[in-house]
């Protein structure tokens, strides 16, 4: 029983770490500020989410679980708010996003 939980826990922790790693890679590879914000949100969601889930399995189901769940809840609310504040500030200050090539598509409203 404990063995199965450990395996599950480590699977979550490692997958979470992998996504955090991908997120930092994204920061390096993506071309401009706005697209890097997308890269950072990988850590906010998959990275933090999976690592916290892994820790829940480590802690067993107790008050600690509740606290970890609350931490996740706060992250889920504050993460996007911070990303949005950054993106909006950049947009208001006139930072132009890099726009990718148009593919054949219905004429867009933008």
């Amino acid at each position: 029983m404990a063995g199965a939980l450990d395996v599950l826990s480590w699977a979550c922790l490692l997958t979470g770490s992998f996504f955090a790693l991908v997120s930092s890679l994204a920061m390096l590879r993506l071309p401009d500020f706005y697209s890097r914000v997308h890269g950072a949100s990988i850590t906010d969601t998959m990275g933090a989410g999976l690592i916290l889930l892994g820790l829940v399995f480590q802690a067993g189901f107790s008050l600690v679980t509740v606290k970890l769940a609350l931490v996740l809840m706060f992250l889920v609310i504050t993460g996007p708010t911070a990303s949005h504040a950054l993106a909006k500030a950049a947009y208001r200050l006139g930072l132009e996003p890099v726009i990718g090539p148009e593919e054949e598509e219905s004429p867009s409203q933008t």
């Binding site: 993506l30 998959m46 606290k67």
Partner: protein, 192 residues
């Protein structure tokens, strides 16, 4: 979202001014809710269940509620935790979307060709309440590969999407419809 918050606050304060008289009576229920939630939080965070510590907790929570009451910020907005059946169905859907979009974005980042094509998308959101629009804006931003840049009160959203397919998904408006369905149970805002 900044706009929404600022305007929302103005509305809240003017509202409090209007009914200064019966605000005291009208706010008993929200105040009790706030007290229950705060005290529940205390119990969950503390983990020490002695009479003395629980007493301290109760006094602190009462103090906070009293302060909020005197500041006139005890209302529905102060505690928007509507855990309805619809919300319970929305959260798993959103989680699944976030996971799918994470995997998609990870693939794009790890692919040597870096297959991205950033777009700005203008959307017309259909939510009727501030809370609905904020839920929508936060849901968009929570999903990697879409970030809300502007969210106006009239429902005009500017969203940065990382690729055409993602922009197209946004225009299809499934998330918008789901968030709008969330708020149908709430009574529409009384303010014009």
């Amino acid at each position: 979202m900044e706009d929404l918050k600022r305007e929302g606050h103005d509305f809240a304060s003017s509202d409090a001014g209007d009914m200064a008289g019966d605000a005291m009576m009208g706010n008993v229920r929200p105040a009790l809710n706030l007290l229950v939630v705060l005290f529940g939080m205390w119990l969950l965070w503390s983990g020490h269940y002695t009479t003395q510590l629980i007493g301290f907790g109760l006094v602190s929570c009462l103090g906070v509620v009293l302060l909020c009451w005197r500041m006139g910020i005890v209302d529905r907005e102060a505690l928007p935790l509507d855990l309805t059946w619809r919300t319970l169905r929305y959260i798993p859907w959103l989680t699944l979307e976030v996971v799918k979009s994470n995997i998609d974005l990870a693939k794009r980042v790890l692919s040597p060709r870096l297959p991205i094509s950033p777009q700005l998308v203008e959307l017309q959101a259909t939510q009727k309440t501030d809370l609905g629009r904020i839920t929508f804006a936060n849901s968009i931003t929570l999903t990697p590969s879409t970030v809300t840049i502007e969210a106006r009160r009239d429902g005009r959203f500017v969203v940065h999407a990382l690729a055409h397919e993602i922009a197209q998904d946004l225009r299809n408006g499934e998330m918008d419809r789901r968030v709008s369905r969330l708020e149908k149970v709430e009574k529409p805002e009384s303010a014009s």
